[in-house]
Amino acid sequence: MSATDPTPAGQVPDAAGHFGRFGGRFVPEALVAALDELDAAYRKAMSDESFLAEFDALLRDYAGTPSLLYRAERFSAKIGARVLLKREDLNHTGAHKVRNVLGQALLTRRMGKRRVIAETGAGQHGVATATAAALFDLECVVYMGEVDTQRQALNVARMRMLGATVVPVTTGSRTLKDAMNEAMRDWVANVDDTHYLIGTAAGPHPFPEMVRDFVRGIGDEARAQCLDLTGALPDAVAACVGGGSNALGIFHAFVPDAGVRLYGFEAGGEGVETGRHAASITGGTSGVLHGTRTYVLQNADGQTIESHSISAGLDYPGVGPEHAWLHDSGRATYLPVTDAEAMAAFELLCRTEGIIPAIESSHALAGALKIAPALAAELGREPVIVVNLSGRGDKDVHTAGEYFGILDREQ
């Protein structure tokens, strides 16, 4: 399929959640009933005016959306492109994740479940889940790799303040993938009263499709805002890709717009060639992980390889199946951004715009910087690039402070 084909969004996924050869359900039989129940509840909700009205009201009155689309003039001048920032960092809880969480929390209540569990990497999804659990009066358990609980100690404290139980996961690489394994194990055992609130557009059907639908407001808003602001669609849309929710959220509305280039930036860590990275599409191969078929970092025997990224939220050896499919179809382009490139963009945004971005989102900023010259050459003018600023950098202050060597020595 080429980029000029009419929108593929209507045809995929199929009823069983396949995006071309990707997606589907690779799960223990014990979970199938719960996935079917979730699928039915989600489809019913999406055609139920009262659900949609309640979701919209929560997004507006509680989460603070629509988020702004901001012309970052000083940043733009530095990179030779007109950059419009989709300010998801200004949402309540500080990232795009709140949109997905509010949607799934509403569904949890509709399904009559009283407990939610979640995996988290950076802690943003965990914080968002703990927030929604407090708001909806649900019991909340968050699984977090032990390594990440140390990297993101501030978010651990936030989750606990909100009443959630944070369980440090000490198996495997002690990061996001292992947190996801533990959450799955919890879910298998407690599926009767528990909803597994997956934090990204990955996992077994219907999660990839459902999460995308809950975050697609990002792109719907950005598309209208860009038309308002510039009178035209952008030349390119850029987002970072961990599991892929913020990227799909902003891509989805633009998929039918053949003239809008879609760029997903994966965590290149120390460089894809070093093997120490989290770029599943660029540096991985097709396989099955966490209930779905997608691109995976794995060895020849299908054992998952540990990912590496300075950004906890991108440190995952898989990616949502819709991205795998958008990659294969050629509709979106995926490129790696190294830790160093991301941190340079992080610093640049701080200094030019007075905005401290999440390190995840800094990968998208660095990506915009990377593609700007070629785009400008191709178009013969400055390109307009919408960048999804998926989250704020408060949680990353310690990591960034260490990276830049600007912390005063602790006593």
Binding site: E29, L31, V188, G287, D301, G302
Partner: protein, 267 residues
């Protein structure tokens, strides 16, 4: 009929259940796992379930996770697992493999079926593959004459349960407990109900897994199921032992206790 089917028939004729013992390939080492499985067979385990270790075993509890991690850290590969199948099958006990789907997909589904069959394996248990996603495996297992064991669970609807057992060959695996593997102090009340539901849908033998750790529990399960599947409790014999010889002694003792248990079905 497959070799597994013969084992179930023979046990049924003797008025007892089949004892299925699980061990991860390459735990604690490739040679060590062969020795362990031979010891299990000598002590009365009827069928060996060889688990090919996987880095992200979401159906498994801490014991199997630890053993799998040890095996993987030791560098065990899928090809080694097939070698182990061959060595253990030489004892005459049927060897069925069990693994998560990704290692099979990466080996090549048809190539795996071909090599498993030529190593003398009887079939494959697929904990994270449901029949809807299994087209390639259905074709490969047919082509190479292998058994297919899909799982059924207490949460399976009647329609799914019927569909699933229709795709099984050899035996059906009933996950008696909603939860991960691991020995438990009580066996599940849901298990007999689930087994009865399976029996309404098929004449295939039904194995019950997840949670059995003692001879008495094995006897209880043998009272309603055709096969008693034991994993974590056997593996723990090796994990907890001070040395390899001690591990094998404990493994033999527990295998014998369980073998006695499946011969003493409790109604």
């Amino acid at each position: 009929m497959s070799r597994i089917g013969v084992a179930f028939d023979k046990a049924r004729a003797d008025g007892r259940a089949v004892l299925v013992g699980c061990m991860p390939a390459g735990f604690p080492t490739v040679e060590g796992s062969i020795a362990a499985m031979k010891a299990m067979v000598e002590a009365g385990v009827d069928v060996i379930e060889l688990e090919i270790p996987y880095s992200d075993p979401v159906m498994d509890g801490p014991v199997i996770q630890r053993a799998s991690d040890i095996a993987l850290a030791g560098g065990v590969r899928t090809a080694d697992a097939l070698r182990i199948v061959e060595a253990v099958a030489a004892t005459g006990a049927p060897v069925v493999t069990m693994t998560y789907w990704n290692p099979i997909e990466q080996y090549g589904v048809d190539a795996f079926a071909r090599d498993l069959a030529s190593a003398g394996g009887t079939g494959l248990i697929t904990p994270d593959l449901i029949p809807e996603e299994a087209d390639e495996w259905l074709a490969a297992s047919d082509a190479h004459g292998l058994d297919r064991t899909f799982l059924v669970a207490p949460s399976s609807t009647d329609a799914r349960l019927r569909m699933t057992v229709e795709h099984c060959r050899g035996f059906v695996y009933a996950t008696a407990i909603m939860g991960v593997t691991g020995a438990r102090s009580r066996t599940s009340d849901a298990a007999p109900v689930l087994v009865a539901r399976v029996r309404e849908a098929t004449d295939l033998p039904v194995g019950v897994g997840l949670g059995v750790g003692t001879g008495a529990q094995a006897g209880t399960v043998a009272g309603y199921a055709d096969g008693v599947i034991v994993g974590s409790a056997l593996i723990r014999c090796l994990l907890d032992a001070p040395d390899e010889a001690g591990g094998l002694t404990a493994l033999r003792a527990l295998s014998a206790e369980l073998a006695e248990g499946v011969r003493t079905p409790r109604p």
